[in-house]
């Protein structure tokens, strides 16, 4: 029974995913833009993975109020972020700071990309070398149409080229 209650509550959970609209006034449009950006990048500590801009939890509302207050007081973005981290920890940053803990996160994909490109280059080179080795020793059997009674060498070559082009479509 308890389990079912918990499931009910889980289904209720998305309900908090509703627009949270405060009508804050800003002394200039640049601050309003910074407000939108900051509240988009700060996580609501309580909600199920929402930023404080979109959550209508009372805590999110309080945090938006604080961000607005600090912006109007002229605080730079960094100190607003520090304010939040001091109280709620790194958890509240959707853009994780680049530290030793997050090197793998930020640089891993690029390393992986580099490895991938290297593999592509190596494989293609390898194949081409094998192909070159095969044809240089003359062990590659000729494919396609060969000059014969009905085809001159020139015609055979043209025919092969045309067929190749069709095949490549």
């Amino acid at each position: 029974m308890i389990k079912h209650v918990c499931i009910w509550l889980m289904l209720l959970a998305p309900l908090s995913a509703q627009a949270a609209i405060d009508a804050y006034e800003f002394s200039d449009p640049e601050r309003e833009e910074r407000f939108q950006q900051l509240t988009n990048e700060l996580r609501c500590p309580k909600c199920q993975n929402q930023n404080i801009a979109d959550s209508d939890a009372p805590l999110a509302s309080d945090l938006r109020r604080e961000v607005h207050r600090m912006l109007e007081e002229g605080e730079p973005d960094d100190s607003i972020i520090d304010f939040m981290v001091t109280r709620y920890g790194e958890f509240v940053l959707y853009r994780p700071r680049v530290t030793e803990t997050t090197w793998l996160l930020w640089y891993g994909p690029f390393v992986l990309l580099g490895i991938g490109v290297l593999v592509v280059v190596l494989i293609s080179r390898n194949r081409r070398q094998k192909q070159a080795a095969a044809s240089s020793t003359g062990s590659e059997t000729p494919t396609g149409y060969q000059p014969s009674e009905g085809l001159s060498a020139e015609e055979a070559e043209r025919l092969n080229k045309l067929l190749q082009r069709e095949k490549d479509q």
């Binding site: 001091t86 709620y88 920890g89």
Partner: protein, 183 residues
């Protein structure tokens, strides 16, 4: 071609590592947040707020220093707080634990009535109507219980109701903190 054969095992190896992390993840609660102040042993934030029970008296962080104590964040709108209240009463009465309270984003009249009805285990209760102290502490829901050391530093936070099992952990932390000070 043995190199190639070894490479073929890489996906399996990666999956096994991933699987271990996922399995560990099953026993972790992703919604539980450790207190940022406790991690860095920061002092309780400076504040000056009225006492709930004697409104003309102002309380500040100085009032929370002097001994290892619990700091409980509660409100009348929080049903879990009611559940743990009985246990807190017992802690205060039978075990002599010092518990301070923060009445968080609540109506003072309702809160006083609540304490009258359900008994008051708190040595002092801070009235935090707009939640500013809660914000500075990093409160993200009620109830929460913090362990403070004698110098008024935050050492541990438990989010959720305090019951017998939780009390064991809190007791351990409090002992540890006391020993640190003594030594």
């Amino acid at each position: 071609m043995s190199n190639r054969k070894l490479f073929a095992f890489i996906p399996l190896a990666v999956f096994i590592v991933l699987g271990i992390f996922l399995w560990r993840g099953l026993s972790i609660d992703p919604t539980e947040l450790p207190s940022a102040l406790a991690e860095n042993k920061r002092p309780i934030p400076a504040f000056e707020l009225p006492s709930l029970t004697s409104p003309d008296q102002m309380l500040s962080n100085e009032d929370l220093k002097g001994e290892v104590a619990l700091l409980n964040v509660w409100a009348t709108w929080c049903p879990t707080c009611k559940e743990e209240h009985g246990f807190l009463n017992r802690l205060a009465q039978d075990e002599g634990v010092t518990i301070y309270g923060i009445n968080y984003k609540d109506e003072p009249g309702k809160a006083r009535e609540w304490l009258r009805r359900y008994l008051d285990p708190y040595k002092k209760v801070i009235l935090d109507q707009d939640g500013s102290l809660g914000l500075d502490l990093g409160v993200y829901g009620a109830p929460e219980t913090y362990v403070l050391d004698a110098e008024g530093r935050v050492r541990y936070r438990h989010a959720g109701a305090v019951d017998a099992t939780v009390w064991q952990t809190l007791k351990q932390v409090m002992e540890q903190v006391r020993q640190e000070n003594a030594g």
